[in-house]
């Protein structure tokens, strides 16, 4: 049995979608300081794998562990340790960037406006703090979503295509944030079509 004492373990996970066998016994492990790059052609189950790792989707076979415990059995502890960036930025169009962050991060931990402003600033969207999400560009929304990931202070980052809609500077910025996170003994699992330009040893998981 593959378990990581202080990290993430995915053990022989199988998922079927009707007749299609999407995840065929996928296994991986990630300990603090690991940056895992999940790649593969379209339709090979990268997002499905991320949803299984978050616990949103239950594998039909296999299991996911956090600190050697099945995530179903330590859901609260696990969820407080993870930050998930999905395809959608998960921002309410009628709320400002700051309000969006306040309401989503505030459900996980007590957070001050200064701290959220600092995260927005580090994501390069400080000027958008008081603008409704509806007026932000797709790239700016992605950066605000990245600011939320930072503000959650989670040890496990699960990022599904974090570079989508970002310009070259945005890609550099997210790469730098990833590097800072793993250097700080965090764990990051990143789904990305392109190679990660991060000066850090990558662990690769190629789905077929």
């Amino acid at each position: 049995m593959d378990t990581v004492l202080n990290g993430l373990g995915v053990d022989k996970v199988h998922i079927w979608r009707g007749e299609q066998h999407v995840l065929k016994g996928v296994s991986m492990q990630a300990a603090p300081g690991d940056l895992v790059h999940v790649s593969g052609p379209n339709g090979t189950g990268k997002t499905t794998l991320m949803r299984v790792i978050t616990g949103l989707l239950h594998p039909e076979q296999g299991r996911v562990t956090w600190c050697a415990k099945a995530i179903d059995r330590s859901r609260t502890e696990y969820q407080s340790a993870l930050a998930y960036l999905s395809h959608e930025p998960a921002l309410k169009a009628d709320l400002t960037a700051l309000e969006n962050l306040n309401f989503s991060v505030g459900l996980k931990r007590s957070v001050s406006a200064e701290e959220l402003n600092d995260c927005l600033s580090r994501a390069g969207v400080a000027q958008c703090a008081n603008l409704p999400a509806r007026v932000l560009s797709a790239g700016q929304r992605r950066r605000v979503a990245m600011a939320r990931v930072m503000a959650m202070r989670a040890s496990l980052w699960l990022l599904d295509e974090p570079f989508t809609n970002l310009d070259a500077r945005g890609v550099e910025l997210v790469s730098a944030l990833l590097l800072a996170h793993v250097r700080d003994s965090g764990i990051a699992v990143v789904v990305a079509h392109h190679d990660l330009q991060v000066a850090w040893p990558l662990r690769r998981l190629e789905l077929t």
């Binding site: 978050t54 616990g55 949103l56 989707l57 239950h58 609260t76 969820q79 407080s80 993870l82 998930y84 999905s86 395809h87 959608e88 930025p89 998960a90 921002l91 309410k92 169009a93 009628d94 709320l95 309000e99 309401f103 989503s104 505030g106 459900l107 996980k108 931990r109 007590s110």
Partner: protein, 226 residues
């Protein structure tokens, strides 16, 4: 510092209210529907006041039911569409707490608003003033129960393309007892007969849904998220 369930509840309620008040058109839509439908009846009945008074409880309750249904489809839909629902499911709070907060906020902006304008509608329907208190109390409990029944239906149908039709088919049959006891309470109040029995039934339904529906709606959402 982690956040307690009570704190999370109020945070979600505040968030929902803020979003609602920034979309006044969507906020007023069910209320306007309720007002228009109920005021069309007096116009169609050619000032037959006795008939209008007899029909008033049924008209009032059917309009309240349909007006609540109008907004129920959106209870989880926008959160599901923009990815917020996934974030809420992963925030470390029980889904039942999240669903309770969202449903309570939904009731505040639809049910309470409907109860507040009900006396205006009641005057148009020739309901005497002494029946207003019973009518408002029954509508208050009825709309809260409806919001809960709707939360279960909305949780089950949020992922479907034509979910609003299915939502009506799920919720309307479940709302029949509400219609019967709600209209009976108002009817008895108009006739100056003791309406306590009907109000107790409404209160029982309200307590039943308030205590059990959060878990059912939370489970429905979890299935939908998969």
């Amino acid at each position: 510092m982690s956040v307690g369930a009570w704190e999370a509840f109020w945070l979600i309620v505040r968030r929902e209210l803020r979003i609602s008040f920034r979309r006044p058109a969507e906020l007023l839509q069910p209320l306007m529907f309720f007002l228009i439908v109920t005021t069309l009846f007096p116009l169609g009945l050619n000032l037959q006041l006795a008939l209008l008074r007899d029909m008033a409880p049924g008209v009032l309750w059917v309009a309240a039911l349909l007006s609540s249904l109008l907004s129920l489809d959106a209870l989880f839909k926008s959160d599901a569409d923009d990815g917020t629902l996934e974030q809420l499911a992963l925030c470390g709070q029980p889904l039942s707490v999240i669903v309770t907060a969202k449903t309570f906020a939904h009731w505040l902006v639809t049910g309470v608003a409907l109860v507040l304008v009900a006396p205006l509608v009641a005057m148009a329907l020739n309901i005497p003033g002494f029946a207003f208190a019973t009518m408002m109390l029954s509508l208050g409990m009825g709309t809260l129960t409806l919001s809960w029944l709707g939360a279960i239906g909305a949780g089950l149908t949020v992922g479907l393309r034509r979910g609003n039709v299915l939502l009506s088919l799920i919720v309307l049959p479940l709302a029949i007892p509400l219609l019967i006891f709600g209209a009976a309470a108002t009817d008895r109040a108009i006739a100056q007969i003791d309406a306590t029995g009907a109000l107790y039934f409404l209160a029982a339904l309200c307590v039943l849904t308030c205590t059990l529906a959060p878990f059912a709606a939370g489970a429905a959402l979890r299935i939908t998220l998969e």
